[in-house]
Symmetry: C2
Subunit: 471 residues, 2 copies
């Protein structure tokens, strides 16, 4: 029996093992890269399909840009190259020759996409341009962790260009809002939305919006970001258009992304000692049906009943675990490890009584359900599970969210991994820098002001900031 | 007005320009790479979704493997590395350092996937393994052409492992069959299925199945391939399992792929002097509705009528071209260039008469359709267009398919780009090599025998082979 490391005392090891044992991913022979196995891939496809649908509904179009970026492109925006240079993978040889100009494997695609925008954009009538790309990107990772930090990862990256700053600002906020809905309604992960400090923002952006969650060990996880890039890249790439007054103008840009890291967030938010616990909306299989054959009973009859139940559950993602070389007990264990929200067990005696046994993954009592009402009960129960998972995570977020005045007080407590601290800040980067001593960072600025002074110096606070250790 | 180069006399130039002007793709600043624009991306997503669904229905699971492959992996299978070495892009530096072992950017993923299969496979109970990956791959191209040959391209690559040779053989054939159905039923492209000669097969495979089409200029296009890899890679990667008799055995492998090249095939098969002609099943927009506003008439009324028509067409992919800064004529031209199968025009007079004007992209007469029956007529007409396009392409394939005895006869005719030649072959690679003088290759071996002797030597033919110049 595979038992997982203690989730309370050894969360990091628990995380790593559950990811591999539940077959979401596997280690690969390529440094810092994982293989996303079918179960993890199915989970990602469900998230992707939802996000893709929402992006299309909000007027974005998918496109595909080259994997390679000429090295010189990255250098056009000074902050940008500085931010990414240490993480780049570089192709120096190709087609049997050394290249005249090396190509970097995209760490993000602003530069190449903005080059193309500059080519396409002529008049204000061409605006807005709202592009999304589903792609792999590469950032060399010194301390990889499956899904959370891998050298290659998968994401959607949105890139838009707008006539006015207000429109770009609205876009960046609208997308953040979509992301928060994704986290709340789909992933059942409560998040805090806010704005990054200048130190933590995207290299080259005016400002970066973020949504942050707190994992079971009290560490924060940045779930995704939406950047108001404004005109910096537009100037760097000479992106101009004729405005409504016939003048040449630079458009206002945004970019935003969520990545396969979301899978890690789901694992770390909901998992327990038995393994994954997947929210029904993203679970590759929402319901596992396990027929329990007994010697001396008609297998065919049971098989037919199971087929009929499955048919009645056509609206859900269902898997019948009908293999004959493992015991029902081993199957229960297996699907608990894999986090399937619901399990239906049915043996000859249940069938004779016209019922199935319903077990959920969030610890409710097993119960009997009449065959005729399985579909209805399953639908309701999945809704309850989704809701309960969100509420429990919300409860945990509350218990991890502290208010504090001074770093000297909460700094040492940051070391016990017990959550995020809301505090006041004067806005001075030098004070922010002090957090480094506790291996913590600002996660985001939020629209509240509960402290009168800065967490470090004696100056007045300009507003609240959240501070935590983070993944 | 953008006019396209003459499709009859300058097909290569026509192709290039129609791809860019219809906004399927654009040139990029990265050598040999294109940008796939939203219209091309939408077309690819429709193809992808269909293929993905069929692959899942036939028991395959998606997974994601690393983009990078350690250079040493490619060298494990001798034929394989020889086949791909000249086309590789190599990452030599990453994270600010020179790598100890360079990584190649995957030109195909057999080696890394087989390494993982070897890790996962223990018993015959683990078989079959049926994996598919949607990915970008890189093969350095000296003479790139959009979609047909690009340095980076997109594909699905299937990789399977089986207990017996027969099972692997059935898999390779089943997939070829699926590909042929995709070509016929979706892309409206008639194809010839056959087997590659040893010279043309996939490096490392036992044999390669292919499906080939003939473009309007008479050149052949390989549309995709399905490889019976057998045990060569299994041995190279030490992939063993305990068989039903408790013995260690190597599994039998297959791999198979279709790529974004299919988009090129659709363009080159169906396009005409006015631009693209897209089969309804893959057209991003099957129907374009163009309201024709006239001065002195109620715009609101017309707008409402158009909205109602659109609503009645919810089962189709519809775009209402309602922009007010181009004329209806320019819109007709634009959507002809983009190959939309059907166009509905409606002006105040049509509205008063309770009708719309229906125009198709395959040259039928315009006709009037009563408002109440638009949905029904549109559905039927799209079916007719799909069918007609396939039949026309089939007619063209027939006219391009010749039987011939001797290379001395048909060799010079190959130079006029007038199609494929079915001929006899003794099986000797030396005779096959003679085709090079005419810049032609064998496309595939087919299950017919219409010639008694080889096209080159005087030995008996072992069966028919198709010969053509190819993309």
């Amino acid at each position: 029996m595979n038992t997982l490391p203690d989730i309370k005392n050894d969360f990091a090891q628990w995380y790593q093992e559950v990811v591999y044992k539940a077959e979401l991913a596997d280690q690969s022979p390529v440094r810092g890269c994982i293989v996303i196995r079918p179960y993890g891939c199915a989970l990602w496809e469900i998230i992707r399909d939802y996000v893709d649908k929402r992006l299309k509904e909000t007027g974005h179009h998918n496109a595909m840009f080259p994997l390679f970026i000429p090295e010189s492109f990255l250098k056009k925006e000074a902050e940008h190259v500085q931010g990414f240079a240490p993480e780049l993978a570089v192709v120096t040889h190709a087609g049997g020759k050394e290249l005249e100009e090396p190509y970097v494997v995209r760490p993000t695609s602003e530069t190449i996409i903005h080059y193309m925008f500059a080519r396409w954009l002529k008049s204000w009538r061409d605006l807005p341009i709202k592009i999304n790309q589903w792609a792999n990107v590469v950032r060399w990772e010194m301390r990889p962790r499956p899904f959370l930090r891998t050298t290659e990862f998968f994401w959607q990256e949105g890139h838009t260009a707008h006539e006015t700053m207000q429109e770009a600002d609205e876009e960046a906020r609208m997308i953040l809002n979509e992301y928060v809905k994704l986290a709340h309604d789909y992933l059942a992960i409560p998040v805090i939305a806010g704005r990054k400090t200048d130190k933590e923002k995207f290299p080259g952006a005016d400002y970066t919006l973020t949504f942050e969650a707190v994992m079971q060990d009290g560490k924060a996880l940045q779930m995704g970001t939406s950047h108001m890039i404004s005109q910096s890249f537009a100037r760097a790439f000479n992106m101009v258009f004729q405005d409504r007054n016939g003048q040449q103008a630079h458009p206002f840009l945004t970019s935003w992304a969520v990545t396969t890291r979301l899978i890690g967030a789901v694992v770390m938010t909901h998992g327990d000692q038995k393994g994954l616990v997947l929210p029904p909306k993203v679970a590759p299989f929402q319901i596992i049906i396990i027929p329990i054959y007994r010697a001396g009973h008609d297998q065919q009859e049971l098989r037919a009943a199971v087929a009929k139940i499955k048919e009645s559950l056509a609206a859900f993602r269902v898997f019948v675990d009908d293999g004959d070389h493992t015991t029902p007990g081993a199957k229960f264990y297996h699907w608990e490890l894999k986090g399937a929200p619901l399990r239906l067990e049915i043996g000859p005696r249940d069938l004779a009584q016209g019922q199935v046994i319903l077990a959920d993954r969030i610890g409710s009592e097993k119960r009997q359900v009449a065959l005729g009402s399985v579909a209805e009960v399953v639908g309701q129960t999945l809704d309850v599970i989704q809701k309960t998972m969100f509420e429990r995570a919300q409860e945990r977020l509350r218990s991890h969210w502290h208010k504090a005045e001074k770093l000297s007080d909460f700094g040492p407590r940051l070391d016990e991994h017990n959550g995020i601290y809301q505090t006041g800040w004067c806005g001075n980067p030098a004070c922010e820098q002090e957090l480094k001593k506790f291996k913590a960072t600002t996660r985001c600025l939020i629209d509240e002001k509960t402290s009168a002074v800065c967490f470090y110096c004696t100056n007045a606070s300009k507003g609240d900031v959240l501070v935590a250790k983070a993944y």
